[in-house]
């Protein structure tokens, strides 16, 4: 029986990909932590062990799926960590760089294997370099070409349990435990037991009749991984304990296909890693992650569920409308003709209906909230990739940069997390490239040599705030202004506030030719970043103090599908304005409306607020009220704009539905919603409405650039 008969391969590949992605992410994080120990002569054993385990799991799963190249590179890397944890290799700068590179090679290989793509270039070159590197420290490293060859060598070596090896291993475990208990760093293993070096000598198990020899210990790891999946354990749990242990005792297993660890050897080897870790206190986070029981669910299924809940919300509103109307009609009728008796039964029914509709509303709300929560994922998923990126970029630019991350656990809707990665990445790159100055410059300015980039996320009301701040040079206003004049956005005579100058960088095409705000010369400007955030119904803001640094702030909604809206009437149609954009609504005498440069404005608490008549913008037949104007004040980048409507119709929770793409994108409209009575209300897209209304003139464009 070949191993592939045990499982649906494609499903396992999917699982492999997900699991490996997470492990590679964890490897990245661990390598970054490990890097702090470079040239210090000490090591955090827990980190090395965690890396070893992660690689071991990848190797095992790859072996199961016969991804030979992945397996081989993982094996070689694992070997290096083995040397490290045995203190047979010092941790050097070049070593850690090689390991970082190895992680990338592995990532590329995994991708190629999973997608059936072509093998990435340079793998052989890399493995050669890795071999050469390891060979300096371990004469056996080159000999261990890979598990497969070794298995063949020992083909006739069918000892089911090597008691000596198990005993040696137990001794090693006890030594490690003792060391851990005393809080000592894990140093030299006595050369005799050499459990891991001996590991790749497992006999081909009798149960394996497949033509190709199988790495028993890899297969075991894969089976463990499968079981971990079946148990619904978080993938992070998979690498936890059994793996490092499984390596030395693997020869004891007669059959790789047998998933349950052999009782006599299984539990014991589990001990060393966690125990050692507990001793140095670095483990708790990982352990906590393991305890969370999770399952993977296709996001499409959640989307469908959310859609259905949307329908439910609509009908809930509808039913309470009906109940309300019924109650009023009956009340009115009985009062009118005094036939109280005739309507008694009906009144009771109406009352019942009203009660159960209230109950229905409550349950629906709870379902809705639960579904929203299910779709929430921590922003850390995106943040996780930055430490490595900043490290590499900073190195390449010859800068010294610390990245501080806070609030990685802040969660928001999966869709938003997915979409926000790209803009965040541009901003972080921007901070590294153009924000933080080179060390010498920093010193000459009296700043510490190393710059700091802070990533922070937190909840604020119904929004998530993400901040990216650096302590670099800030935006050079003079240069931005000069550039703005050069490309004709403004003229010499324009008097712009600092804020207005900063806004210039969001003009499409502004940044591409200049180094001030250019994102690594890739032709992707800040305008794209801003546009992406606005598309997510977010708000984007920049604060910059010259010489002190720049802070980007984005405010994002927790979710996109259901929002609070203010309903307004314009020319007999009901429009919805998302409440997050609304500051207040005002009823103002027509006489208070003034005209400046042909545009209408009002003065509100000393601030001049331009007006947009929604009816006229939408070219509706909306006659002006001679006495008063109803104004919804909306906020945009700290500015205020007044939308003139016919009347306010209260707030309501609405489910956003996209307009059909047959209609296409329409300026000022972001979608539609179905109201409780079945009628449709279009949702006003405040950003595009204002941008479109002020789209023409140059001056107003400067004023509202980036909207």
């Amino acid at each position: 029986m070949s191993s592939s008969d045990f499982f649906d391969r494609s499903e396992f590949i999917q699982y492999f990909r997900d699991e490996t992605d997470e492990l590679l992410q964890a490897i990245d994080a661990d390598l970054l932590r490990l890097e702090q120990f470079v040239d210090t002569g000490t090591l955090d054993a827990e980190i090395v062990n965690s890396l070893f385990r992660a690689l071991h799991t990848i190797k095992g799963s790859a072996g199961m799926l016969e991804f030979g190249a992945v397996q081989q590179v993982a094996h070689k890397l694992e070997n290096v960590f083995d040397l490290l944890r045995k203190d047979r290799m010092p941790l050097t700068e070049s070593g850690i760089n090689l390991l970082f590179e190895g992680r990338d090679v592995l990532t590329a290989l995994v991708r190629a294997a999973v997608d059936d793509g072509e093998a990435p270039a340079g793998v052989d070159d890399y493995t050669t370099r890795l071999d050469d590197f390891a060979a300096v420290y371990d004469s056996t490293a080159q000999a261990i070409e890979g598990p497969r060859t070794v298995v063949e060598e020992h083909d006739d070596h069918l000892t089911p349990v090597d008691h000596e090896q198990v005993a040696a291993f137990e001794a090693e475990v006890e030594r490690l435990l003792a060391a851990a208990a005393q809080g000592q760093p894990l140093t030299d293993a006595p050369p005799a037991p050499e459990p891991v070096a001996a590991a790749p000598a497992p006999p081909a198990a009798p149960a394996q009749v497949s033509a190709e020899p199988v790495d028993v210990d890899a297969a075991q790891a894969a089976v463990d991984a499968l079981f971990a999946a079946a148990n619904g354990a978080a993938p992070a749990a998979a690498p936890i304990a059994p793996k490092p242990a499984a390596a030395p005792v693997a020869p004891a297993k007669p059959a790789a296909a047998k998933p349950v660890p052999a009782p006599e050897s299984g539990p014991k080897p589990v001990a060393p890693a966690p125990a050692a870790a507990a001793a140095n206190g670095a483990e708790p986070k990982r352990a906590a992650a393991a305890k969370n029981q999770t399952i993977r669910v296709d996001i499409e299924r959640l989307d469908m569920l959310l859609n259905l809940v949307g329908e439910l919300v609509i009908n809930r509103t509808r039913i309470s409308d009906i109940a309300g109307t019924l109650g009023r009609e009956l009340g009115g009728a009985s009062a009118a003709n005094g036939k109280a008796r005739a309507s008694d039964g009906l009144s009771q029914l109406a009352k019942d209906l009203s009660e159960s509709s209230a109950l229905l509303a409550r349950t629906t709300n709870e379902i809705q909230e639960s579904i929203m929560k299910v779709r929430m994922v921590p922003i850390g998923q995106v943040f996780d990739r930055f430490p490595r990126m900043v490290r590499d970029l900073a190195k390449a630019r010859g800068k010294d940069i610390h990245l501080e991350i806070a609030g990685a656990e802040t969660d928001l809707d999966k869709t938003i997390v997915d979409e926000v990665g790209e803009p965040l990445m541009h901003l972080v790159r921007n901070c590294v490239d153009h924000g933080i100055e080179p060390p010498e410059v920093r010193e000459s300015r009296g700043k510490p040599r190393h710059g700091t980039i802070r990533l922070n996320a937190y909840h604020e009301g119904n929004q998530v705030i993400i901040e990216i701040a650096d302590d670099g040079g800030g935006i050079d206003l003079q240069r931005v202004r000069d550039k703005g004049i050069r490309i004709g956005l403004i003229t010499e005579n324009d008097r712009l506030t600092d804020r207005e100058i900063i806004e210039l960088i969001f003009t499409p095409g502004f940044s591409t030719a200049d180094q001030i705000t250019d994102v690594s010369g890739r032709g992707v400007g800040m305008d794209v970043v801003k546009k992406n955030i606005l598309r997510l119904k977010g708000v984007f803001d920049v604060d910059s103090v010259q010489g002190e640094g720049t802070k980007f702030t984005m405010k994002l909604p927790l979710t996109l599908a259901i929002i609070q809206a203010l309903l307004v009437r314009v020319a007999d149609e009901l429009y919805s304005i998302p409440l997050d954009a609304v500051i207040e609504s005002q009823r103002i005498e027509t006489s208070e409306v003034r005209t400046v440069h042909g545009g209408e404005v009002i003065t509100l608490r000393g601030q001049v607020v331009p007006l947009i008549r929604v009816g006229e913008f939408f070219r509706l037949n909306a006659p002006r009220d001679p006495d008063k104007v109803m104004i919804v004040i909306v906020g945009l980048q700290g500015r205020q704009v007044g939308l003139v409507v016919d009347s306010f119709q209260g707030e309501q929770e609405i489910v956003i539905k996209p307009l059909s793409d047959v209609i296409g994108r329409i300026a000022g409209i972001s979608g539609a919603t179905i109201l409780g009575n079945g009628s449709i209300s279009l949702i006003i897209d405040v950003h595009s409405l204002v941008a479109s209304a002020y789209g023409g003139g140059r001056v107003t464009r400067a004023e509202f650039s980036g909207v």
């Binding site: 509706l620 793409d661 047959v662 595009s688 941008a691 789209g695």
Partner: protein
């Protein structure tokens, strides 16, 4: 015996049109249509079809015919074109016809009412001429025009 196609026939003015039955999802009486501002002028708006938002095209406007008041015979023919569901307002729906494929001819030059771009052919049944529409073109045309409109109305998003 030649092959036949089943066609839903409807009227715009005095002319009779047909749409292949497989593309017709349902036929509804006229309902309240929510106007979508700044949309192409032949877009009548959107309707709520059992919780689904369906865009409605005024076929008269699409073909450049004069608009008329809706009557009790006015219908919305809901069609599925690829993955898109679109409703079309027509003066009245006549019947479901069987047309022999060899009785369908290419669109002749003489047809003046409708831009020949949207016509797949003309079917003859007894004395009647049924103009068969190419629905996909009606929508692609929509998008094309929409893009043109967007150019005129370019929004400087920055």
């Amino acid at each position: 015996m030649s092959e036949t196609v089943q066609v839903v026939s409807f009227k715009l003015g005095s002319e009779e049109y047909g749409v292949e039955i497989a593309q017709v999802q349902e036929i509804n009486r006229m309902v309240a249509v929510t106007h979508v501002p700044r949309a192409p002028q032949f877009m009548e708006g959107v309707i709520n079809l059992r919780g689904q938002l369906i865009p409605i095209i005024d076929l008269r406007a699409r073909f450049g015919m004069p608009r008329v008041e809706h009557t009790k015979n006015t219908r919305i023919v809901v069609t599925d074109i690829g993955a898109k569901r679109v409703g079309m307002v027509v003066d009245s729906v006549s019947e479901v016809l069987r047309l022999a494929t060899d009785a369908i001819e290419d669109a002749p030059e003489m047809i003046t009412g409708v831009d020949t771009e949207y016509i797949r052919g003309v079917g003859k049944i007894e004395d009647r001429l049924i103009i068969l529409l190419d629905l996909a073109k009606i929508i692609t045309g929509t998008e094309k025009r929409e893009l043109e409109a967007a150019d005129v109305d370019a929004v400087p998003v920055g």
